[in-house]
C-alpha cells in the first residue's frame, strides 16, 4: 500500500475547532476583525506598563488643558489637561471589561433559563418564553436606564444593567439550540441510564449548543460596549474620573464648539472595537454554518 492509498484509507481526522478555524481564515473580514480584537485586548492588558493610572490618566494637569493634538499630545488634552491618548487607551480596559462581563451575565442567566425551558418543555417553557417576550418588548436602552436608576450609578451596576437588558436573546438562542438536540438518541440514552436532568443539560446538551452561543456572545459584546457607552454618555455609567469612552464623549460634547477633537478619538475607539467584534462575529457565524453565508 502506497502512502497515498494509506491517506485515502484513513483520512486525517480534523477536529471541529480546526474546521471552524480553517473556514474563519478564508474570510478576510473575520481575520481583520480577529487581529484588531487581539491588538485591542493586548493593548488593554499592557496599558498599566505604559501609563501610570494616577499620574497620566486621572490626575488634573490644568496648565496643559484643552491642548489640540500635537507631537507632545497626539490626541490632545481634555478640559482638565489629561492626555486623551492615555485615557482612550486606558478606556479600552473599562469598555472591554464592561462589555465582556455584561455579556457573561446575560450568557449565564440566559443560557440557564433558556436551556431549562427548552429541556423541560410544556407549560413551563411557554411561561418562560412569554416572560421573555415581555422583556424583549421593552427597548433595551430604556430597560438598562431603569435598572441603573434603580440600583444607582457604579461600574458594577452598569455591567448588571447592560447584562440584564441583553439576556432575552440568549434565552431564545439557548432554548432553540436545546430543542434541536433534545430528541437525539444520546439524550434518550442518558435519560435511560438515570442521569439527572441538570447533568444531561450540562454534560450533553450545552456542549452541543456552543457554536450559536459563541456567535451570539461575540456579536453581543459589541452592542454591550455601545450600550455601556450610551449610559455613561447620559451620566448613568462609570463614574468620573474613570476614562470610560462614553463618559469622555459626554465631556467632549460640552466643548464641541471649539475643541471638537475631544469627541473624535473616544468615538473612533468605540467604533473600531465594535466593528472588529462584528466582523469577527459575522465570520464565526459563517464558519460554524457556511450555509448561512450569502
Amino acid at each position: 500500500m502506497t502512502a497515498a492509498e494509506t491517506t485515502l484509507a484513513f483520512p486525517k481526522k480534523r477536529s471541529s475547532t480546526a474546521l471552524v478555524w480553517r473556514q474563519l481564515r478564508k474570510n478576510p473580514g473575520a481575520v481583520i476583525g480577529l487581529i484588531i480584537v487581539i491588538l485591542i485586548v493586548f493593548m488593554a492588558l499592557i496599558t498599566p506598563l505604559i501609563y501610570d493610572y494616577d499620574a497620566d490618566v486621572i490626575k488634573n494637569n490644568i496648565k496643559d488643558r484643552l491642548q489640540s493634538p500635537s507631537s507632545k499630545y497626539w490626541f490632545g488634552t481634555d478640559d482638565l489637561g489629561r492626555d486623551i491618548l492615555a485615557r482612550v487607551i486606558y478606556g479600552a480596559r473599562y469598555s472591554l471589561a464592561v462589555g465582556v462581563v455584561a455579556v457573561m451575565i446575560a450568557l449565564i442567566i440566559g443560557v440557564t433559563i433558556g436551556a431549562i425551558a427548552g429541556y423541560v418543555g410544556g407549560m413551563f417553557e411557554n411561561i418562560v418564553m412569554r416572560i421573555t417576550d415581555i422583556f424583549s418588548s421593552i427597548p433595551s436602552v430604556l430597560l438598562a436606564i431603569a435598572v441603573v436608576s434603580a440600583l444607582g450609578k457604579s461600574t458594577q451596576n452598569l455591567m448588571l444593567a447592560v447584562g440584564l437588558a441583553s439576556t432575552a436573546p440568549f434565552i431564545r438562542v439557548a432554548r432553540a439550540a436545546v430543542l434541536v438536540v433534545r430528541g437525539e438518541e444520546f439524550i434518550e440514552a442518558a435519560r435511560a441510564i438515570g442521569m439527572p436532568g441538570w447533568k444531561i443539560i450540562l454534560v450533553h446538551i450545552l456542549p452541543n449548543c456552543l457554536s450559536p452561543l459563541l456567535v451570539q456572545a461575540t456579536l453581543r459584546v459589541g452592542s454591550a460596549i455601545i450600550s455601556a457607552a450610551q449610559l455613561s454618555f447620559l451620566g448613568l455609567g462609570v463614574p468620573a474620573p474613570a476614562p470610560e469612552w462614553g463618559a469622555m464623549l459626554s465631556t467632549g460634547r460640552q466643548y464641541i464648539r471649539d475643541y471638537s477633537y475631544m469627541t473624535l478619538f473616544p468615538g473612533l475607539a468605540i467604533m473600531v472595537t465594535v466593528l472588529a467584534l462584528n466582523l469577527l462575529g459575522d465570520g464565526l457565524r459563517d464558519a460554524f454554518d457556511p450555509k448561512l453565508k450569502k
Partner: protein, 309 residues
Amino acid sequence: MYRYIIKRLLMLIPVLLGVAFIIFAIMDVAEGDPVYSVAGADATEEQLDLLREEMGLKGTLLERYFRYIVKMFQGDLGTSYISKQSVMKIYMQRLPNTLKLASLTMIVSVGMAIPLGIYAAVNQNSFKDTISMVISLIGLSMPNFWLGLLLIIFFSLELGWFPTGGNEEFKSIILPAVTIGAGLAALMTRTTRSSMLDVLRQDYLRTARAKGVSEGKVINKHALRNALIPIITIFGVQFSNVLGGSVLAETVFAWPGVGRLVVDAIDQRDIPTVTGALVMTTMLVTLVNLLVDIVYAYVDPRIKAQYTK
C-alpha cells in the same frame, strides 16, 4: 383576518400588564421611600403617614401596582415630584415631538436602506456589494450619539447648514433623524440584501426575464414585493430601537421629546415621571409591533389563509 386581529389584541393584554409590572417593580426599587424628601426634615410621623397615603405608597408592591394600573387606564400616571403637574399631561406634551422624530427617522432609514440593499443584492459578490456591506457594517458599529456629535461638528459648526439643537425651525429635525436613522438603515440594508438574494434565486424571476420583462421591472415589481415581507418585520423591531435611540439623540440635540424627559427626570429623581414615561413608551412600542404584525398578516397571504378557513 378579524379572528387574527382579535387573537393578537387578546394576547396583547398580558404583555402590556407584564411590561408595566416590570418597569413598575424596577422603579419601585429606585424610589425607596420618597416621603422624606417631599415632606422635609421636620415632618412628624403622622404627616409622613398621611403623605404616603396621598402619594399612593401604602401597601405591598402588588397592591400599589394594581392601583397604578387602574389609575393608568383612567389616564392618571401620578404627579411629577418636580413640576407638580400630571405625568400624563407632561408625557402627552412631549410625545408629538418624539413621534415626529421617529416618523422622519423611519423615512430616512427606509430611504437609505432599501435602495442600498437592492443595489448590493443585484451586484452580489462584486466590489459594489462589498462597499455597500462595509458601509452598513460601519453604520452598525458606530454609536449613534457619536454620529450625532460628528454631524453637529460638520454640518452645524463647519458648514452652518443646520442648527446644533432645539426645535425652533423645521431644519432642526434633520440631524437627529439622520443620527438615529443611520444605524437602523445599516441593519435594514443587510436584511433587504439578504431578503432580495433569496427572492432573486426564485424560478418565477427567471420566467419573468425569459418572457422579456425589463430588468428594472423584474427587480421593482416581482422581486421587491416578495422581499418586502421580512423587511416589514424588521420595521416593527426597528420602531423599538428608534424610541430607544431617541433618548440619546434627543439629549445630543436638545430635542424636547420623551427621551429627554426621561433623562431629565432621572437626573432629578422624579420617579413618577420616569415610571410613567417608560411604561407609556414601552406600551407604544408593543402597540406598534401589533400593528406591524397585522400589516405582515395582510401582506403575507399564508398567515391570512390560516385564519380565513
